[in-house]
Each structure stands twice: as C-alpha cells, then as structure tokens.
Symmetry: C2
Subunit: 385 residues, 2 copies
DNA sequence: GAACTTCCGCCGAAGATCGAACAAACCTCT
DNA sequence: AGAGGTTTGTTCGATCTTCGGCGGAAGTTC
C-alpha cells in the first residue's frame, strides 16, 4: 500500500541503499519539502539509526552534511550452520563485519546443543567488540535443509536429525530470528555483496550435494513449500544406473556432487571420501580428478541450461566447496549452457564463481537479519514508538 | 515505498480486490478514520471509479452502503494474437467481458496490417456495446513471441516477420498499451481467473510449440531479457536424433509439440498436419495418436519435474490446443512429475487443465490492461488531477 | 570581498486527518 | 408499536502534518 513515499522508513531505506546521502538528495528523491525531510532525519538521528558526518563536497554552495547509518549502537549476527561447521559473523547495521568465528560443530548433535553453542559464540563475539547483548537486534541463520521460513522451523531436513519442526527462533529471547536454507542465504549474500544490480540471479552451490538459491526481482524466491531451488534431484540424461539417496536414479547430485565424484575416484583407485578430497586431487594436478570435475560441470551445465531457458537469470554464481576448483567446473558448465540455451537468454548472461566465497552464507544470513530490521514497516514502528 | 496505507489508490485496490465492500471495511483494513475514508470514497465516486449500490445486509445496526467498481464508463481491451488468429475481448473495469470477437488473421501480414485490423475490431466492439472510443482506457495484447515488455516491442520473434522491434504501443493513440508474450498473458488470465490464491503458478501451453508462463508471488516473472518460460527448447533425454528448428536437437518442442506429434503420425501413415489434426485423431479414438499424446505428456512431465524441483509452484496449468485432449496429456505429465519430483514439492501441487480454456489469453491481456489502470500510482494520479 | 549558489532551520500558512457528536437506518425485545 | 441498542455515515472543529518562503550559514567563483 503506497501513497506518496515519505515515511521515516522510506527515508532510511534510501539512506541505507546509498541512494541518498544528504537531506537534499532525500527531498529530491521523495518529493517532500526540505523542511519535512529535516524533521524525518531528526527523528532518525534521535532514535540512533543514522548520524551526521562532516560536511561533504560543495557543488558551488554550502556543502551538505552527509548522512549515514549509525553503526555503533546495533549488532546483527549471521550464522552459517553446515553439516560439520558453524560460522558466525557479527555485523553492524551497514553490513560491515565486526568480528567472526568458525568452529567444527556437528549439526547432528541436535538443536539444543548446536543453538547453545551458537548463543555462546555470539556472546563471545559481542564481548570481543565491546557491545552489550541488548545491542543485538536480529539474527539470521542458514541451515543445511529445507525450512518453513515464516516460522523458522526446519521441514523434514534429511541431514539434520532432531531438528524437524524445531522452533529455532524461540530459542533466542529478545532477538528477532530469521532462519532459511543455506543456499538461500548464500544467494542473498552474493546478490547484495557482488551483484546488487542483477534483477535475477541463481546461486548454485556445488558441495557434497548440489543446491540452488534463487533471487527474483531482488528478492528470494522460496516457492510454495519453501523447497524451491532443490536442483540436486533433477534428472540428467544417460545416467539411469546412478542411484541417489532420494530413492530415484540419475539425480544431478548423484552424478555430479562432490560425494559422487569422490566415489568414482575411489573406484578408479584414487581414494577420496569427500568433495574436499576431490579438490585436493585437482589442485595436485591429478588428471582423472580434473576430468571428472569438468564432466560434472557439463552435467550441471545441462541442468542449468534448462533453468536458463525457464528462468532467464542475469547472473549465475557458482559456489560451494567444489567452486575452489572453479576454473574446471565452470569450463564444463559454460560449455553446456551456451550450447544448450537460447541465445536471447544467454546474450547477457554472466556465469561466474562466487565473489564472496566462503563468506557468502554468513554475509547473507546477516543481511537477512539487517534487511528485516531495516524494513520500512519495522523502522516506522520504531520511530513512531 | 509504504508509510501507512491510505491513499485513494489503496482504497480502490481494496475495493477492486473484493477485500472491502463498505466504508467500514475500508476503515478497518486501512486503519484510517471513518471520516477520512468517506472523503476518499467521495473522491473516487466523483471521478466515476466506484459507485454505491443499494444497502447491504444489516449486522444488527444500520446496513452499510455497498461499494463496487463503476463498470459503465470505462472499457478495456484484451487482444490475443496468434500465428493465424486474432481474438479480442472488451471488458469493463471489473474484468467482465462485454463483447468479444474472433477472426482468422495471419500475424505474418506484418504489424501495420494486423494492428489496423485490431483497431477496427475494437471500434466495432465498442460500438456494439455502445461505449465511445474515449471510454477505452487501456489495451493489453499477447503476441506469439518474445517482447521487451517495458517498451512493447517484439524481440526477434521467430514467427512474426516484420514485427521485430516494432513499437506497437505507438500505433494506438490516447490509449495505454501493454504488450507481452502470449503465454505470459495466459498465465495471468488463468491465475486471476481460476487460482487467485496461488502464490506461484506455471501455465504450460502445449500447442504447435511449447511455452510456459510464470507467476511468482502473484506477479509475472519475465526474466532478465523477457525470455523466461521458454521451455520448448529444454533438452529431453533419449531423443538426440530429433532436430529442432532452433538448431539444437532433442528439444522438448521437437518431440512433444503438436507439430512433432503430427509429423510422427504422418510417418505412421496417419496424415496429420497440425496439433489440431492430432486432437481430432485422439477424439476419434485413434490409439496411435492417443499413445503419442500420452508419451508427449511423459516428456513434458520430465521437464516439468525438473522445474517443480527448481521453482516449487503451487499449481501447474496445462493449456493450449493439445489441452483439448488433456486427460491423456495430463496422465503422462502427472505420472512423470510425481515420480521424478521431490515429495516436499509435490505434496501440495495441483496439476490441472486450464479452466479459462480458449479465453485465457484474451482475459489475461485485458487483466494486464485493467491492473495497469488500477495500480495505486495511476489512480492517485487520476484522483489528484 | 562582492555576488552567487547551495544547504538548513525556523515559522506561519495551508492542508490532511482525526475523533466526537449527531443523524440515519436497521434489529431486538418487551 | 415503541424503547433501547447497534452499526453506518456525515459534519465540523481540533489537532497534527506538511509546505514553502525567509534568513542565516557556509561554501565557490570572479
């Protein structure tokens, strides 16, 4: 519902997006009178949401006072939970990372154990940067399985025993908690961090399994049941004898995932257990491993070619453990996508390795939290309180 | 940008969506004072956008005066251009069809000829229902090829010679014109007409070729180059010898489109030229034709299974010429989708023939025009003028 | 340093919204 | 039938918001 743009929340949105840095900018962009803008800005400053910095460049007259987010008083946490790790980044409201940490942590230990660990680590990070617990405004979390985003409850996650339907947000008191699938937060992190201008983006994570986060019109597409992006179980042709843990055969994940490549290397007499081992073999120059990675790229490319025709993204980002040998993976992917997709869809298509790399998930999770906090509705609520 | 909801445009949106039919409803939904609502309503009535009807049901007190869209003063046109036909529906602002017509018309005649025909037919329809030309507020059009939606110019359409980059909207003076791909308007028509509650919907058109319109969060997803939904050239496994007009082989369209089925029937000694002939053979009970249609359904289902995993829609609608034998097509599609997609995504998935049928495109095109006209920004502009 | 430009706060005027009061229209119960 | 209750819609002054002009502040240009 949108009359004229002009609430305090809208003003803050313009500032946080970098569209406006001065009162004049705001007046021009919103169409409101300068005096009205000043009043909005005063309110935001009073609430500690923005601050004035030293005067900026003059354009021939009095130099404008610059406005920016006030980065001292708040904190946000981005949590990346994997099957065997936990990464946390503490951020200020502008998205800058203040502190981070990484541990080994088995998600199979169950929610109580894992969340207690997360909680304690966040306290530790807060202490490290000297901000009180109550500075923590919101917390974003990516988990390796499907989640009902609205409630923050994992939805029959295959590799998260004990987590099914667990009300994660309720574990943390006094903080808003947003839980999402790990690939979704990675897509968000990569979009905001590297391709903010891209209207439609796919983030493909190639690790043990294969998944995909979907950004449509700058927002995450989660699908009807929150299971969108589950491309690991799309069928690829010519591999009907490759059984998958999902019960079907010829799933992409079962032929091109890190685990699948490792298994095939083992069969060839090159012991490998995980995607990490595959990466090591490739980096050591092993031609068998290299060939298999490139072949995996072709298979992933086959699936992506379909999705490019269907979804017409602007950017496809390749991330996950196997992207550490992305030159070989990307070669196969590009080769197939550009051969099998329609020219109109590939003309302006960029296929690229992740720029945010290992940090995609923590950044994305933190951004999920920050954007939730900075939503115009929430800001208006705060300012009018 | 959204402070508190409350502009005249927002009020009208609530009325046209059916969320509110009385002033009290509006006050409750917007949070504005009753007196303010009355003022908004007065303005909308004065502009001829809404009208009062006789009093409604009392709930124990004074019965409320019902409000509804004023359907007398405006007209909107929905135009469905196919390769060989032109269908037009004239609608009032509520989306009710006032009059319609259908002709044979070769799109290959070029834009001037075709648009002159459309223009003349619209005049005729307007005369038929006794509304002046100036009542025509907006015009939506679906064409059989890719379109740059923002400008209304066809983008290298393969079966529309002479139309490339032609500025369609400029042909019509004094009317807002919105041009989109035919499958997109069909998806819109089916969504609004039959599944307004579905958050994510795919409309699959199976005719001579195969295409797909995508509704995401109730809005059309057009993709970065406006080519989203082009699923006709997705590869299907096991048909590498089937060449396609696009230059690749094993395209879905080349093995499961109406033209492809007709060709295979001809090879089997059953002369068939088009999808229409295939439909006739099936309806006549020919088992070969029936078998091929069902097999085509399986192939389409294979592609849709991938897209279900990726996109996680709530509803898949099957339309187009071949959907006239939808029981056989759907059997093949359902069989494959439910076998190959993940349970989480198929649990609440509905796969159904089109309910709006032959009218999907004209309805959708008209709705495109109406929704453009009823957008809060446009209404605010009208009311404040 | 004079003239010009841009920025920003102040303040009265103009406008929008609210809410109380009242009238209208119906229901229910006696 | 009439009294009393309920919901709806309008009117009107009070209040709050926004606007826009003015003047001072703080630069640049000539």
């Amino acid at each position: 519902m949108t009359p004229q743009p002009g609430s305090a929340g809208d003003v803050l949105t313009l500032i946080s997006a970098g569209s406006a840095t001065t009162r004049s900018d705001l007046a021009r962009l919103t169409g409101l009178a300068r005096s009205t803008i000043s009043q909005r800005v005063d309110a935001l400053i009073e609430r500690g949401l923005i601050e004035e910095t030293e005067s900026g460049e003059s354009t021939g007259g009095r130099p404008p006072r610059q406005l920016r987010l006030q980065t001292e008083d708040h904190a946000f946490a981005g949590v990346d939970l994997g099957a065997t790790h936990c990464r946390i980044a503490l951020m200020d409201i502008s998205g800058s990372v203040l502190a981070e940490c990484e541990d080994s942590l088995l998600i199979g230990e169950g929610p109580e154990t894992v969340l207690a660990h997360v909680d304690q680590r966040i306290d530790h990070l807060l202490a490290q940067v000297g901000r009180p617990r109550k500075a923590l405004r919101a917390l974003g979390m990516g988990v390796p399985g499907p989640v009902e985003f609205a409630t923050g409850r994992p939805n029959n996650p295959p590799i998260m025993p004990g987590w099914n339907d667990y009300p994660v947000p309720e574990y943390f008191e006094g903080v808003e908690v947003l839980v999402d699938n790990d690939v979704n937060v990675m897509a968000l992190g990569e979009h905001r961090g590297a391709f903010p201008e891209a209207a439609h983006l796919l983030f493909v994570k190639v690790g043990t399994g294969i998944g995909c986060g979907i950004m449509a019109e700058g927002r995450l597409h989660r699908g009807a049941q929150g299971s969108a992006g589950d491309i690991g179980h799309i069928r690829v042709s010519g591999h009907d004898n490759a059984g998958c843990r999902c019960g079907n055969s010829a799933c992409l994940e079962a032929v091109a995932g890190g685990a699948a490549i490792a298994r095939r290397l083992t069969e060839l007499g090159l012991p490998a257990e995980s995607g990490g081992d595959v990466v090591e073999l490739v980096q050591a120059g092993n031609t068998q491993a290299l060939r298999l990675v490139r072949e995996a790229g072709r298979l992933i490319g086959e699936v992506l070619a379909s999705l490019v025709n269907f979804f017409n993204p602007e950017v496809i980002v390749i991330g996950g453990a196997l992207s550490r040998v992305h030159e070989h993976l990307l070669a196969g992917i590009r080769e197939t996508v550009y051969r099998r997709s329609l020219p109109l869809a590939t003309n302006h298509l960029t296929i690229t390795p992740s720029r945010t790399g290992i940090n995609a998930a923590t950044l994305g999770a933190g951004i999920l939290a920050i954007e939730h906090y900075l939503s115009p509705e929430n800001i208006n609520r705060i300012v009018n309180a």
